[in-house]
Symmetry: C2
Subunit: 194 residues, 2 copies
DNA sequence: GTCTATATGAAGATAGAC
DNA sequence: GTCTATCTTCATATAGAC
């Protein structure tokens, strides 16, 4: 944050609290479905006070996306540390779907849903949200390259990303964990056969 | 429309015009992103006048969904007439993705995007939008049964539906027809191998 | 069935005392 | 950095003359 001159310890905490609450609300209710009042209430700050930290709602979204980027980067580093084998790493990605079953069924994929929403309502902001997809596309492509699939790495990454998005959407629409589990099994077999 | 006592020829036309314009706007901008003013302007009727035809915006959405159901049913009937072979029919479904390339890249899948939006913002209305998915799931499952895959017909239908949704979302987010084309090629091979 | 005027409420945003 | 009061805008929705 180079353009934020200085902020007290308390200020940083409040700011972080606002972002965390907004992230949760944006995920569960969508960006358009979340009002300033909702965020203010969840974060326990006063109405006008939020403007001390963010000039606009869009700015909050940018901060939320930046936070998600950090979270996912940390997750990918963890996968890399635990699994030296690229195929095992790809499997981790697939297993994430199973691990997040509950949230996926209830609210859909946190990356896919925000991109879908912004793609229609706010194409200007969708450019920022796309970074979350880029993050996984690049990481997956790296694993495919490590598997000796240089030529198709990008396509394979998009393929796997698409499969994950497709099953997340269907499972969410039907509120059905079984649909998710069956597709995850298919994806495990797909990774295994690589 | 059993509860609509009677409506003049002109009235029916105006009503149909409102629904058609709303369908287009809901698809391109989303339900929440489309205001009454937008619909009124596109349909060329006067502001307060629209309430003569629909009591609420939600009612317009229901009418739009009903119209889409009719459209898709007609499409499926056409596929059935042109293709006696179930595998050829499944291929038609896949080819639809290629045929709609332009719209899919620009606005995403008309079924998936409305369900994704309503799933967060208006779960009450999402129940109606899900009927569009049911329509394709059932039609696809019927083809798989005809192929002698009774036991897996439902799973296979969800699988294909998910693949179509996944690629639509990715292609939309990246505004990239090439992603769509590559995945469609993969799906053609998948259907071929059935 | 057509058209104008307006009510009502919610949301984003601001001002300014403390 | 905290808190209250308020402004503006835009959305859905309604009333009622013609």
């Amino acid at each position: 944050m180079p353009d934020k001159p200085a902020m007290s310890r308390k200020g940083e905490q409040t700011r972080a609290e606002i972002i965390a609450c907004a992230q949760d609300l944006f995920y569960r209710r969508g960006y358009g479905g979340t009002s300033f009042s909702d965020i203010v209430e969840a974060a326990g700050v006063y109405r006008g006070n939020i403007y001390h930290y963010f000039k606009t709602k869009d700015e909050i979204l940018e901060a939320v996306i930046a936070r998600r980027v950090q979270e996912f980067r940390a997750l990918q580093r963890e996968w890399e540390e635990r699994c030296p084998d690229p195929k095992q790493r790809l499997m981790r990605f697939v297993e994430m779907l199973a691990a997040c079953e509950d949230d996926l069924v209830r609210f859909g994929c946190p990356i896919g849903t925000i991109n879908a929403e912004l793609g229609k309502a706010r194409r200007d902001l969708q450019g920022s949200a796309k970074a979350l997809f880029d993050l996984f596309r690049d990481w997956l492509a790296t694993q495919f390259v490590a598997l000796g699939r240089e030529a198709q790495a990008q396509s394979l990454a998009f393929h796997l990303l698409g499969r994950a998005q497709g099953v997340s959407l269907i499972a969410h629409v039907y509120h059905d964990p079984a649909v998710l589990q069956r597709e995850v099994a298919t994806l495990r077999a797909w990774v295994d056969a690589l």
